[in-house]
């Protein structure tokens, strides 16, 4: 292996859009000589390496992910402020695709929009509880399937999804 286990795990956690569990990492690495314990040790070591850094690895419900440490809010909010105006179109389209094509994966949304889906938008939708994870698709990486929630319908004053305006064929537009 060209890179150490530690470095590969670091890279995977950073490239991944979602937290990774130890068993997911074991599966991705697909190496008989590796066990969960070793992954766990590597993550601890990584975090030790990060002790002086502004980032660290945290464990959340679905696995491990990187987080910024406290004290950088002032900078980060300046970073995240930009580009809010262009945000709403992508937000609207992502929401519309999930509503009308559910259950869909992120990949499905990307395929339809032809553009990578912003992790922010998915997170926001999850935080708003407009969407939830309804399952996992049987394809590489077991991507999450998203569907809308009753809360989403509440926002639009609708009772059920079929109350949403119908989209017939696109040709006629």
């Amino acid at each position: 292996m060209k890179y150490s286990l530690k470095n590969i795990i670091e890279c995977l956690l950073l490239v991944s859009d979602d937290p990774l569990s130890i068993s997911q990492i074991v599966k991705i690495l697909d190496d008989k000589n590796l066990n969960k314990k070793q992954i766990s040790v590597a993550i601890d070591e990584l975090n030790h390496d990060y002790s002086n850094k502004a980032i660290h690895i945290c464990q959340v419900a679905s696995g491990f992910r990187f987080q910024a440490k406290d004290g950088l809010d002032a900078y980060i909010s300046k970073l995240k402020d930009k580009g809010m105006n262009k945000f709403s179109k992508a937000f609207l389209e992502t929401t519309a695709i999930i509503a009308y094509k559910q259950p869909v994966t992120r990949g499905d949304i990307e395929e339809i929009r032809g553009i990578a889906v912003s992790t922010n938008i998915i997170r926001t939708l999850l935080e708003l509880e407009w969407i939830k994870i309804v399952g996992h698709k049987e394809s590489p990486g077991k991507p999450e399937l998203f569907g809308t929630t009753p809360k989403f319908l509440d926002y639009f004053n609708k009772n059920k999804l079929s109350d949403l305006p119908e989209i017939s064929d696109v040709e006629s537009i």
Partner: protein
């Protein structure tokens, strides 16, 4: 006799016998493969290994016309640009047919402009292939972006969205999707999609659920149909397993493992 030769999925389909029936939809795909009249002309030229600087306008015009008439016969929605090219070709042809009255110096070859355009177009066709082959994010390399969770994330305000906007957004995106070579999107009954989501939620946390339990008879006939369609759709998308241990025994539905 019209020679039907075309490219389908990058492969040349040539010399199709006259009596061979090509389903209209199939032919449509063949013809849609051309990116316009120049593309079609380039194809005809390449096919015959013609020296473009000495473009034999007569046979090329003839072949071009037979394609056009074929497209018209198929009621293929012919872009006006194809007809413009047809008239350009005819014009060049007639100029070439005219007897040269006097030796006019510097009389430009009537084909010159067309040849120039074809070469120019070929140049950008090549360029588009170069772009196609450039390394791309997510295909050839991986960008680490937005990798870190921050506490103060969603301070942004959710725009005040009207339901109509949502619909328009989707129509917009679907329309746009047509230009990206992706799967076709068929309109589906929303209630089925909704049922698919709720069925997956219901199955989550259970090893499996008996088939009949998925149905709510109070929903009436339509509800049962919607549930059944959702079930079929989930099977089709390999999201669930349908398990029956022996014929005529109970059927169980579980999430795909």
């Amino acid at each position: 006799m019209t020679e039907i030769t075309a490219i389908y999925n990058g492969k040349a389909i040539s010399d199709i016998p006259e009596d061979l029936f090509i389903p209209p939809e199939h032919l449509r795909i063949i013809l849609e493969d051309f990116e316009g009249p120049l593309d079609l002309l380039l194809y005809l030229i390449k096919k015959q290994n013609i020296d473009i600087t000495d473009l034999p306008i007569f046979p090329i015009t003839e072949q071009y016309m037979s394609y056009i008439s074929l497209m018209e016969e198929m009621h293929f929605e012919l872009a006006a640009d194809y007809l413009v090219m047809a008239s350009t070709l005819t014009e060049i042809k007639s100029k070439l047919l005219l007897p040269v009255e006097t030796e006019v110096e510097d009389e430009e070859d009537p084909r010159a402009n067309l040849i120039k355009r074809l070469l120019e177009y070929q140049k950008y066709k090549n360029a588009s292939e170069l772009i196609e082959n450039l390394p791309r994010n997510y295909r050839d390399f991986y960008v680490v972006s937005n990798a870190i969770e921050t506490k103060k994330r969603n301070t942004m305000d959710i725009p005040d969205i009207k339901i109509e906007q949502l619909k328009l957004a989707l129509m917009d995106v679907l329309r746009r999707a047509e230009i990206l070579s992706t799967h076709n999107i068929l309109s589906e009954t929303l209630s089925v999609r909704e049922r698919m989501s709720s069925m997956l939620s219901k199955l989550k946390g259970h090893e499996n659920i008996e088939f009949v339990e998925l149905f709510n008879l109070q929903e009436g006939r339509l509800g049962v149909i919607v549930t059944f369609l959702a079930l079929l759709e989930l099977v089709k998308e390999s999201l669930i397993d349908v398990i029956q241990n022996e014929p005529m025994s109970r059927i169980y539905i579980g999430l795909k493992k």
